[in-house]
């Protein structure tokens, strides 16, 4: 397949691995954070971690929107779903995320009409064909996904679809990164930037990282060679004393992003003053809500929601995992009380959560060759 096979060439991968080795300063330990859950998934799926020397450590960032949804927001969604006559729609990954007492899948088992959709446009289609029912879309995701919700709401408004609304949980990636960089217990040498978020927002929003925190950022694609090359580019910046935002994923990401998508986002959404991130706490201006022009489509205005903050289970260390302070296997309940079948924390529910990636692909061998 074009754009795929050429980025999975094992021989080239080993060659880039050799380049990485030659870029390292002997005796120095490097910590590089992959921001996006998609990168975490690729790293463990393709064994990229195994190609790296021991002193290059990958730290898994907060870029899985399922993992960062707090339980209180899941409870809000379930409360809406349990209303008579509501068709509640969401992406498949949301169905299994635990709220304080149950999941959306449990609510469905109790009779709630919960349906998985592939796109918010599918939810709008359900609303058109069920005019006597209220159809609610539970929107999650970073800037990659928010344009699809915005486009759907624009269409709903233009067509006058009155029985459609949205519980908006869209989040933005820059504020949590800034919060992480301000965290005193974190030491990172560089960032693998989220390729598809940057397709929408461009490279500019990440320029504060080299400017304010003197760390390199390389915007990366999701194939194995993309990630290896990005790691090499980060290490080369460090070796040469440069700190800048570089774009490895030039075949997809324009420096300015997608201006049309940004315009649609600005029309449909506005920033929430603050939003709770699981494990990271409340972060200012880190999430989106519907703008005044689209308030009629806000399910939180249309339905009663508990809006109660629910503390994470005490045994769960998702917060430390999301901040990269501990590895998944260092969590007290990893692989024992918390498994994909019986998840306590969201990092284990979503397959792109760092814990599930470790668990599913068995990538927790800790002995590697030192340089």
């Amino acid at each position: 397949m074009r754009f795929v096979d050429e980025f999975r060439d094992a021989q080239l991968g080993r060659a880039v691995g050799g380049e990485i080795l030659s870029t390292l300063e002997p005796g120095r330990h490097y910590k590089v954070m992959e921001v996006c859950g998609g990168h975490t998934h690729s790293i463990y799926k393709y064994g990229i971690d195994d190609l790296l020397p021991e002193n290059v450590e990958l730290v898994h960032g907060p870029g899985c929107p399922v993992c960062v949804i707090p339980m209180g927001r899941v409870d809000d969604g379930i409360a809406v779903a349990l209303n008579d006559g509501v068709i509640f729609t969401c992406f498949g990954d949301m169905l299994r995320v635990p709220g304080s007492e149950q999941t959306l899948l449990d609510a469905k088992a109790q009779g709630a009409d919960v349906r998985m959709v592939y796109s918010p446009l599918d939810a709008l289609r359900i609303a058109r064909t069920n005019p006597e029912r209220e159809v609610v879309f539970f929107a999650i995701g970073f800037e990659t996904t928010a344009p699809s919700t915005a486009l759907t709401l624009k269409r709903a408004k233009a067509e006058g679809v009155r029985n459609f609304s949205c519980v908006c949980n869209h989040v933005t990636i820059v504020p949590p990164l800034r919060a992480l960089l301000e965290s005193p217990d974190l030491r990172l040498d560089g960032f693998i930037g989220p390729g598809h978020v940057c397709t929408v927002v461009g490279a500019r929003p990440f320029e504060f990282i080299p400017a304010d925190y003197q760390r390199p950022v390389v915007i990366s694609g999701f194939e194995p060679l993309d990630i290896l090359q990005s790691i090499h580019m980060i290490l080369r910046q460090l070796k040469e004393g440069r700190r800048e935002v570089e774009n490895q994923y030039t075949r997809v990401v324009p420096r300015e992003g997608n201006l049309r998508a940004l315009q649609v986002l600005a029309e449909v959404f506005e920033l929430r003053p603050h939003f709770e991130w699981r494990g990271l706490g409340f972060i200012s201006q880190s999430a989106l809500k519907l703008s005044d022009a689209y308030r009629d489509f806000d399910a939180e205005e249309r339905f009663a929601v508990p809006g109660v903050r629910v503390a994470d289970p005490k045994a769960c260390q998702c917060g430390e995992v999301l901040k990269g302070v501990i590895k998944p296997w260092e969590c007290k309940v990893f692989g024992t009380a918390c498994t994909p079948e019986h998840a306590i924390g969201t990092c284990m529910v979503s397959p792109e959560g760092a814990c599930a990636a470790y668990y599913n692909y068995g990538r927790y061998a800790r002995d590697k060759e030192a340089v």
Binding site: V4, D93, P98, T103, M116, L121, G195
Partner: protein, 83 residues
Amino acid sequence: MTVPTCDTRSGCITCVDEGIPMRVVEARRDIAVCIDDHGARHEVAIELVDMVSAGTRLLVHAGVAIASLEAPTQEMADGSGER
């Protein structure tokens, strides 16, 4: 509480920031019929990208094209450039 393993094939879209390359077969005003690399056909919203026509390759996320991957060529338009 029992939580089944999430199946990426059935719907994990957001957490992998999925971007699927697709080729446009037919472009209408807001919608294009596209085909992915496995031969499956999809209806894709194209309001957010410029100059979409048969043969254009798009990056698609949650049913919406978020980027054009390259300008179409004659080979791509008639399908002979794709594997």
